[in-house]
C-alpha cells in the first residue's frame, strides 16, 4: 500500500512575541492509503497544528513531511495550493462554509480552483456529491437555512469536490449532537471504504472507535500505546 503521508520528527514552534510556544515536538507519523485514523488528545495538545501541517496550510519548524509523494518543504506557494486543492479535503469543526452562497456553489468553489473538470461538468458533480451526502433536496439552500449536521455534510461534499486522496477532519462532530455526529461518522466510514484516507481529530472515544488506529497527542508529543493504556482514559 502506498504511503499518503510520511512525517518524520516534525516540530512546530509558534513565536508569540518574546515567547516560543512549541505546539508539536518530534512527531513522526505515517499514513497508509485507505487508512482511517483518529487523533486524540486534550485541548491544546497540538492536534490542529498537526492537521494544518499535514494539510500543507503551514510549514513545520523542523522535520520532514511528505504528502502524496511530494516533499512539502520544497514546494512554493503555488504548488502547495495545488496540492491542497487536488490531494486534500478539509472538514472543520465550525463547518466553514461561505455563508453568502448556497450549498451547490460552496461545493463548486474548490473545483474552480483546480480546473480538474471542464466547467460544464462541475455542476453535475456538485449535485451528485450533495446527493451522496443526503442533501439532494437542499442544493439551493443557504448555509444559514441548514442545520449543523446538514452544514457539515455540505462541507464534506465540498471536501470531496476534487476527489482527494486524503480527507482531514478536525473535530468534525465537535459542534454536532450525537445523532448528527453519528451520521457524519457513517459518511466517513463509507468514504473510507471507497478508498479515501481519512484523519479524524476527536475527543469522543465513540467516534474514535471508527478508526483503525488511534494516535494520542499530549503536549505536542505522540504518546506510545502503552502510555495511553496506562492513562486515565
Amino acid at each position: 500500500m502506498a504511503r499518503v503521508v510520511k512525517a518524520e520528527h516534525l516540530s512546530k514552534v509558534y513565536r508569540m512575541g518574546q515567547v516560543d510556544v512549541e505546539a508539536l515536538h518530534d512527531v513522526s507519523l505515517a499514513l497508509e492509503e485507505g487508512e482511517l485514523i483518529a487523533i486524540m488528545g486534550p485541548s491544546g495538545s497540538g492536534k490542529s497544528t498537526l492537521m494544518h501541517l499535514i494539510g500543507c496550510l503551514d510549514q513545520p519548524t523542523s522535520g520532514e513531511l511528505i504528502v502524496n509523494g511530494e516533499k512539502v518543504s520544497q514546494l512554493n506557494d503555488r504548488e502547495l495550493a495545488r496540492l491542497r486543492g487536488r490531494a486534500i479535503g478539509f472538514v472543520f469543526q465550525t463547518f466553514n462554509l461561505i455563508p453568502r452562497v448556497n450549498a451547490l456553489t460552496n461545493v463548486l468553489m474548490p473545483m474552480g480552483f483546480t480546473h480538474l473538470l471542464p466547467p460544464r461538468e462541475r455542476e453535475e458533480r456538485a449535485r451528485s456529491l450533495l446527493e451522496q451526502v443526503g442533501l439532494g433536496s437542499r442544493l439551493k439552500h443557504m448555509p444559514s437555512e441548514l442545520s449543523g449536521g446538514e452544514r457539515q455534510r455540505v462541507a464534506i461534499a465540498r471536501a470531496l469536490a476534487n476527489d482527494p486522496k486524503l480527507i482531514l477532519a478536525d473535530e468534525p462532530t465537535g459542534n454536532l449532537d450525537t445523532k448528527s455526529g453519528a451520521q457524519i461518522m457513517e459518511l466517513f466510514d463509507q468514504l473510507n471504504e471507497r478508498g479515501h484516507t481519512i484523519v479524524v481529530v476527536t475527543h469522543d472515544p465513540n467516534i474514535a472507535q471508527h478508526a483503525q488506529r488511534i494516535v494520542h497527542l499530549l503536549d505536542g508529543r505522540v504518546q506510545d500505546a502503552s502510555e495511553v493504556s496506562l492513562g486515565i482514559s
Binding site: 496550510l57 506557494d77 503555488r78 491542497r84 479535503g89 466553514n96 461561505i98 468553489m109 474552480g112 480546473h115
Partner: protein
C-alpha cells in the same frame, strides 16, 4: 478560478452589503459624472460660442481679402475681379468665394434730405450681415441699413415731427438709445430711401428703395453701411483689353475652421503673383491684406482649454476621492472575509485566485459606478445646457456634444480606477496566512 465563479462570488458579496457597496458605487459615479459633465458642458459651450462667432457675428470661417489702407467699410479701391474669385474657388479647403463691391458714387436720401456719410455696398453673400430685424435683400429696389443710418433716419423723423423747437441733442440721445431696442425697427422697416448713383453707362441715376432689414447693432459691424442688390454695382477696369467688373473685397469661406491658416497662406501666395488681376491693377507697391480670425478662434479654444483643464482637475479630484472610497470599502471587505480567505486557501485557492476575486469585486463596483456616472454626467450636461439657455436668452442653442469615445474612455477609466483601488486590498488578501485566517474570528 473560472471567470463566472469569480463573478458569482464577487457579485454575491456586493449584493450582501448593499448599502456599503452602493455608497462605493456612488462615489465613483460622482467622480465619473463630474468628468463627463465638465467635458460635455465646456465643449458644448465652446462649440456654441464658435458657432455664434462663425455663423452670425464674426464670420470666423471667412477670410477677408482687402487692399491695405482701404479696409474701412471695405474701402473704395476696387481691384478684385471675377477671375480672382474663380481662382480662389479652386483652392483646397475653400467652400465659397463672395465679393463685396461698392455702388459707385452712391448717396442716400430720406424724405428729400441727404443722409451723411453712408457707404452703399453690394455683396454676393446674402448671409454676410446678420440682421437685428427684417430680412435680407431679395432683389433690386430693396436695401438693408446699418444702425448708424437707422439712427440718422430716426433723428430726421423726430426733427420733422417736433418742428423748429426740437432739442437736437435730446433727439440724438433718444434715437441712439432706440437703436439698442426693437422699437426702432417698427418705425424704419418699410420706409422708402432714395439712392443716387452712377450706373454702368456712367450716368447719374436715381433709384427708389425700400428698407427691408436692419443690420445687427454690434460694435464690430459697420454702422454706416447699407447693402443693395449686386445689380447696382457698375465699377469696371480695363483688363486684357476688356472692361471687367472689379470689387473692393473678397470673402473666402473655408470648409473647416481649423484650415484657416493654410488657406490664408495660399491666398497670400496667389495675390503676390502678377497672374492675379488685383496685383496687376495695384502693381508692387500696395499690400493686399488677407485677414482671418484664426487668432481669435485659437484664443477662444485656449481659454476653453484652460477652463476645461481647471474644472477637469476638480472632477479628477472627485474621481480620486471616489477611488479612495472604493479602496476603503475593499479593505473593510477583505478584513471581514479573512476567514473566507482561509477557507478558500484550504480548499486549493492560490494567491492569484484570491487576488483575482477581490480585484474583480473592486472593478465591478467601479464599472457600475462608471456606467451610472456616464449616464448621470450626460443628464447633468443636458440640465446645465437648459439652465444656461434659460439664463442667457442670447445664446440660441448650446449643442449637446455627444462623443461616444468619451464614454468608452470613461468606462475604461472606471476599469482602471477599479484596478488601482482594488489592487492593494486584493494583494493584502492574497498574502493572508491561511492558518491565521482560519483562526480569525
Amino acid at each position: 478560478m473560472g471567470f463566472r465563479e469569480t463573478l458569482r462570488l464577487s457579485w454575491s458579496n456586493i449584493r450582501n452589503h448593499k448599502l456599503r457597496n452602493s455608497l462605493a458605487v456612488l462615489s465613483v459615479t460622482i467622480g465619473i459624472a463630474a468628468v463627463i459633465a465638465v467635458i460635455t458642458m465646456t465643449t458644448g459651450l465652446q462649440s456654441a460660442l464658435l458657432n455664434t462667432l462663425t455663423r452670425d457675428l464674426l464670420h470666423a470661417d471667412t477670410i477677408s481679402v482687402t487692399v491695405k489702407g482701404n479696409e474701412g467699410a471695405f474701402g473704395s479701391a476696387q481691384v478684385f475681379s471675377q477671375r480672382d474669385v474663380k481662382h480662389l474657388e479652386t483652392l483646397k479647403g475653400v467652400k465659397a468665394v463672395d465679393v463685396i463691391g461698392r455702388v459707385r458714387a452712391a448717396s442716400l436720401y430720406f424724405e428729400g434730405h441727404r443722409l451723411l456719410s453712408p457707404v452703399v455696398q453690394v455683396t454676393t453673400d446674402p448671409k454676410f450681415l446678420p440682421l437685428d430685424a427684417g430680412r435680407p435683400i431679395a432683389g433690386p429696389g430693396e436695401i438693408v441699413i446699418g444702425a448708424g443710418i437707422a439712427q440718422s433716419i430716426c433723428e430726421q423723423q423726430e426733427q420733422a415731427a417736433q418742428g423748429a423747437k426740437a432739442d437736437t441733442a435730446k433727439i440724438k440721445e433718444s434715437c441712439k438709445r432706440a437703436t439698442q431696442s426693437k422699437l426702432l425697427a417698427d418705425r424704419i422697416l418699410g420706409q422708402p430711401l432714395r439712392m443716387k448713383y452712377i450706373n454702368a453707362q456712367k450716368k447719374i441715376q436715381q433709384s427708389q428703395l425700400q428698407i427691408v432689414g436692419l443690420i445687427k447693432n454690434a460694435q464690430f459691424l459697420p454702422h454706416q453701411t447699407a447693402y443693395v442688390d449686386p445689380s447696382y454695382h457698375s465699377d469696371t477696369e480695363e483688363l486684357g483689353g476688356q472692361a471687367v467688373p472689379v470689387y473692393t473685397a473678397l470673402l473666402v469661406k473655408v470648409a473647416n475652421i481649423s484650415k484657416l491658416a493654410s488657406v490664408k497662406q495660399e491666398i497670400e501666395g496667389y495675390f503676390d503673383r502678377f497672374s492675379s488681376d488685383a496685383r496687376k491693377l495695384l502693381g508692387t507697391g500696395t499690400e493686399i491684406n488677407v485677414h482671418t480670425l484664426a487668432n481669435i478662434v485659437d484664443e477662444i479654444k485656449k481659454n476653453f482649454g484652460q477652463v476645461t483643464g481647471f474644472l477637469g482637475a476638480i472632477a479628477v479630484v472627485a474621481l480620486l476621492v471616489g477611488m479612495i472610497g472604493v479602496m476603503n470599502v475593499m479593505l473593510i471587505t477583505v478584513k471581514e472575509r479573512t476567514r473566507e480567505i482561509g477557507i478558500m486557501k484550504a480548499t486549493g485557492a492560490t494567491n492569484g485566485n484570491v487576488l483575482q476575486l477581490f480585484l474583480t469585486e473592486a472593478v465591478l463596483i467601479c464599472l457600475i459606478g462608471a456606467f451610472l456616472g456616464v449616464l448621470a454626467g450626460m443628464g447633468l450636461s443636458v440640465l446645465f445646457i437648459k439652465l444656461t439657455m434659460m439664463l442667457f436668452s442670447g445664446l440660441q442653442s448650446i449643442p449637446f456634444v455627444f462623443v461616444p469615445i468619451w464614454y468608452a474612455i470613461a468606462i475604461l477609466t472606471g476599469l482602471v480606477v477599479g484596478v488601482v483601488s482594488g489592487v492593494y486590498p486584493a494583494w493584502s488578501a492574497a498574502r493572508t496566512n491561511p492558518i491565521k485566517a482560519l483562526r480569525y474570528e
